[in-house]
């Protein structure tokens, strides 16, 4: 039966191979995703701390590197309390819904092109849906239910207000997100994320990458910023963090949640940020396409970046600002130099270079998310709505129309 389903070209061996490969890939992706989520939180605390002239976590492990682990242990061992006044079923279902819908989109996100490991060819992606973009939009919108249900079922006034704000906000900003994404899709003419990235390969004049933000006939720079702003709202981040505005609504929709149920919401928030950054990278910034062509030394950029990182670490380790830095920073420096050397090995370059470019672009976007949190105040509810409907929506619409017109004229 499996044979029929997979088609005539498949043998038993191939089927086995397919399942085994998928299992391994899923395992790796899940591990990397969860680690990234944990360390994203560490990075946020560190970066925010340095924006705010603090030092951030330093106690658990060198430079607080084990802090995420400690947080997980803390959250798991906290008392799992269910208040007596909640609507139990929905109260328990909401965090589960939120976190699962936030984790699913990673399944369709490609991290690189086709690679060959031990003679097996595979794509650096779990699955390539031909409607990948739509799938991500659909799944993340279901995540709103988690927040709305949490707000309602908690039977708490602050949570209710938070849930209400959140649903209104996420539904309103869904529209600019969709419109902003539609414009670059017109350029590449596909919904599959892998093909979107492949459509952005190459360079103009030998050095300007053909990413959507630079691609002719109408560079998608406007829709990129629209998408980024709307993504802030979709993920409830500052300056749009009204649902959990701690100074108004204490904690918003998750005020009645504790222990792992709270952790689930927390994880969902960070997973949503990661998804938004990944989509932004894939659709607008050319996914794993490099910034510079190999003819201009693009393949050496990772080595240079890590090499510089290593050199700076070692320099600061030799002139330590704090006692502990004398030992930790040179160690980091050596690790960075090692990574820089890895990028020079020709066999590994095929795998590592796409991954580097993808991770670097996502990392830059994540940094912007954290940076903005340290800089901007919070919008008011009505201003937020007005901004969505009177500013974002018309601009996105006009941008879409211009893109469509120019694509029709030039094709």
């Amino acid at each position: 039966m499996l044979h029929d389903w997979l088609g005539p070209g498949w043998s038993g061996f191939h089927a086995m191979n397919f399942f085994l490969l998928s299992l391994i890939k899923s395992g790796i992706v899940a591990f990397v995703l969860l680690t990234t989520l944990a360390y994203l939180q560490w990075a946020e605390r560190k970066i925010l701390a340095h924006v705010q002239i603090r030092v951030g976590p330093r106690r658990v492990g060198p430079h607080g590197l084990l802090q995420p682990l400690a947080d997980v242990i803390k959250l798991m061992t906290k008392e799992d309390m269910i208040p007596s006044h909640v609507s139990k079923l929905l109260y328990l279902f909401a965090p589960f819904l939120a976190v699962s819908m936030a984790l699913i989109p990673i399944a369709v996100i490609p991290f690189g092109g086709q690679v060959e490991v031990f003679g097996v060819k595979t794509w650096m992606q779990l699955t390539d849906l031909n409607v990948g973009v739509l799938f991500i939009l659909a799944v993340t919108s279901v995540g709103v239910y988690g927040v709305a249900l949490a707000g309602w079922s908690s039977n708490n006034k602050y949570a209710l207000l938070g849930g209400l704000r959140s649903s209104a906000q996420m539904i309103s900003y869904e529209l600019p997100v969709a419109l902003a994404l539609a414009a670059p899709l017109l350029l590449v003419n596909t919904l599959s994320l892998r093909h979107i990235v492949e459509g952005q390969a190459g360079f103009y004049l030998g050095f300007i990458p053909r990413w959507s933000v630079f691609q002719g006939p109408w560079p998608q720079i406007f829709s990129f910023f629209l998408f980024l702003i709307a993504a802030f709202a979709e993920t409830n981040r500052v300056p749009f963090d009204l649902p959990e505005a701690e100074n108004e609504l204490v904690a918003g929709f998750h005020v009645e949640y504790s222990s792992m149920k709270f952790a689930a919401f927390f994880m969902a928030e960070y997973a949503n940020i990661l998804t938004a950054c990944c989509v932004g990278t894939l659709v607008f910034l050319g996914g794993w396409q490099p910034l510079l062509p190999d003819s201009l030394g693009g393949q050496f950029i990772p080595s240079i970046v890590f090499g510089l990182g290593g050199a700076i670490s070692i320099f600061h380790g030799l002139n330590p600002a704090r006692k502990l830095d004398r030992y930790t920073l040179p160690a980091f420096g050596v690790i960075f130099l090692g990574i820089a050397a890895l990028f020079l090995i020709p066999i590994l370059q095929a795998i590592l270079l796409p991954l580097f470019w993808f991770a670097a672009k996502v990392g830059v976007l994540l940094f912007v998310f954290i940076w903005v949190r340290g800089t901007l105040p919070r919008f008011r509810y009505d201003q937020l709505m007005r901004f969505a409907w009177t500013v974002m929506f018309p601009i996105a619409m006009v941008n879409l129309l211009i893109t469509g017109l120019l694509v029709a004229l030039t094709s």
Binding site: Q52, L161, N247, E248, R373, L376, P377, R378, R380
Partner: protein, 410 residues
């Protein structure tokens, strides 16, 4: 209190069935006493229609410590430490007004150096208090980082206070009869360095907030209350000046030789949260100017008044002269006596007009000490200010009032 109780009862009473489905259904939100934005233990009962505040009633008294009554249990000198704890973010202002009131009763004239020193410390105190206000106000509106920048500068002022008095917050440094201790060696250098750098730091906050569109959206046109209401309710200080009323005790009825300093009264006319922000930032700059002037023109002279019946004698004299020893014994065991009478003294604290009314019956204990605290008056404006606005504006408006609950409840 009766009016408030009736108000609260009317809000909690079951409401009549709505005429139309979906209309007139209100939710009563009990904000506080534990809430991140009430800056202490203030309880505000808010009646909401959606996100709009229909009625609001502040409920105070959660931090009542009976300080006014405690004054009567101690000597005049022991009262000084209580004044620290009234408005714990502006303790030197409270020290100063108490000292001035007691000195008025004793008809003591302070040496010039003491007066200038007091002005300088009070202005440093104003800067410190405004820094705390700016940090927490910005935090309420969501700008996290400003809080840490403000506290960096505040830390230096706290260190200066510690240098003077040995304490960071509860300094009790300004006392009836002068200062508590001789100003420490090297204070000019420390204060001078701080005050040279400070105006740049204020510009830095201004850069972060004044041209920030989100900040402008959140603060402009928010938290309006009519000038008549303000005057009726007893609102004073930066809030009143942001409404265009030129009322500053430092200018109108100068005390402690404020008339010798050259500074502007910060006045705006918009009467909203943003105007209050501008006024306070301007005041920080003006305070820095006053501190600079005090530093440059600080007169030489004693740091205490010549009042042997009130102040402890010199250690050396106490060991060599019998007269001094007797005074020392009497002052330590019983405290000084203040002539019978009553005095009212008002000064400009960072929050507004603070006034102490002290009554003496001629003994070494105050008969009555009553305070007119600015936070209490300012807080009365909360209801009219936020009714009809959104919850988020409530937070912004509350932050712009800059009340300290210790000052409200005492």
């Amino acid at each position: 209190m009766k009016a408030l109780e009736e108000h609260v009862a009317s809000m909690l009473a079951p409401e009549p069935a709505p005429a139309e489905p979906g209309k007139g259904r209100h939710m009563v939100l009990n904000m506080g006493p534990q809430h991140p934005s009430t800056h202490g233990v203030l309880r505000v009962l808010i009646e909401l229609e959606g996100e709009t505040v229909r009625k609001a009633a502040p409920d105070i008294g959660y931090l009542h410590t009976g300080i006014e009554k405690q004054f009567e249990a101690g000597t005049w000198l022991q009262g000084v430490v209580l004044t620290d704890r009234v408005d714990y973010l502006a303790n030197l202002s409270n020290n100063l007004v108490y000292a001035l009131a007691v000195e008025k009763l004793m008809q003591l004239e302070m040496p010039a150096r003491v007066q200038w020193m007091r002005v300088m410390l009070a202005e440093l105190q104003r800067i410190e208090s405004h820094l705390v206000w700016l940090g927490t106000h910005a935090l309420d509106i969501g700008a996290m980082s400003v809080f840490f920048y403000c506290f960096r500068e505040r830390e230096e002022i706290l260190r200066i206070k510690e240098m003077f008095s040995g304490q960071r917050m509860m300094t009790s440094y300004i006392r009836p009869g002068g200062l508590a201790l001789e100003p420490p060696r090297g204070w000019e250098k420390r204060v001078g360095k701080f005050i040279r750098d400070f105006p740049d730091k204020v510009d830095e906050y201004d850069d972060l907030l004044e041209r920030n569109p989100v900040w402008l959206e959140r603060t402009k046109g928010v938290g309006f209350i009519s000038v008549e209401d303000m005057l009726d309710l007893g609102v004073t200080g930066p809030m009143l000046r942001a409404a265009g009323v030129k009322l500053d005790v430092r200018k109108n009825t100068p005390y402690s030789s404020y008339e010798k300093f050259d500074f502007e009264m910060a006045v705006r006319t918009e009467n909203d949260v943003f105007a209050r922000y501008r006024v306070r930032l301007q005041e920080m700059r003006e305070s820095a100017k006053i501190v600079t002037q005090a530093l440059e023109g600080m007169p030489e002279g004693p740091w205490q008044a010549d009042a042997p019946k009130m102040l402890l004698p010199d250690r050396e004299k106490m060991k060599t002269q019998m007269e001094a020893l007797i005074y020392h014994f009497k002052l330590v065991t019983e405290g000084y006596r203040v002539p019978a009478g009553e005095a009212y003294q008002a000064i400009e604290s960072p929050r507004g007009e603070i006034a102490y009314y002290v009554v003496s019956n001629g003994t070494s204990h105050p008969y009555r000490v009553h305070m007119r605290t600015p936070s209490f008056g300012n807080l009365q404006g909360l209801g009219p200010m936020i009714e009809g606005t959104l919850i988020a504006d409530t937070i912004a408006a509350m932050g712009s009032m800059d009340f300290v609950l210790g000052d409200v409840d005492r």
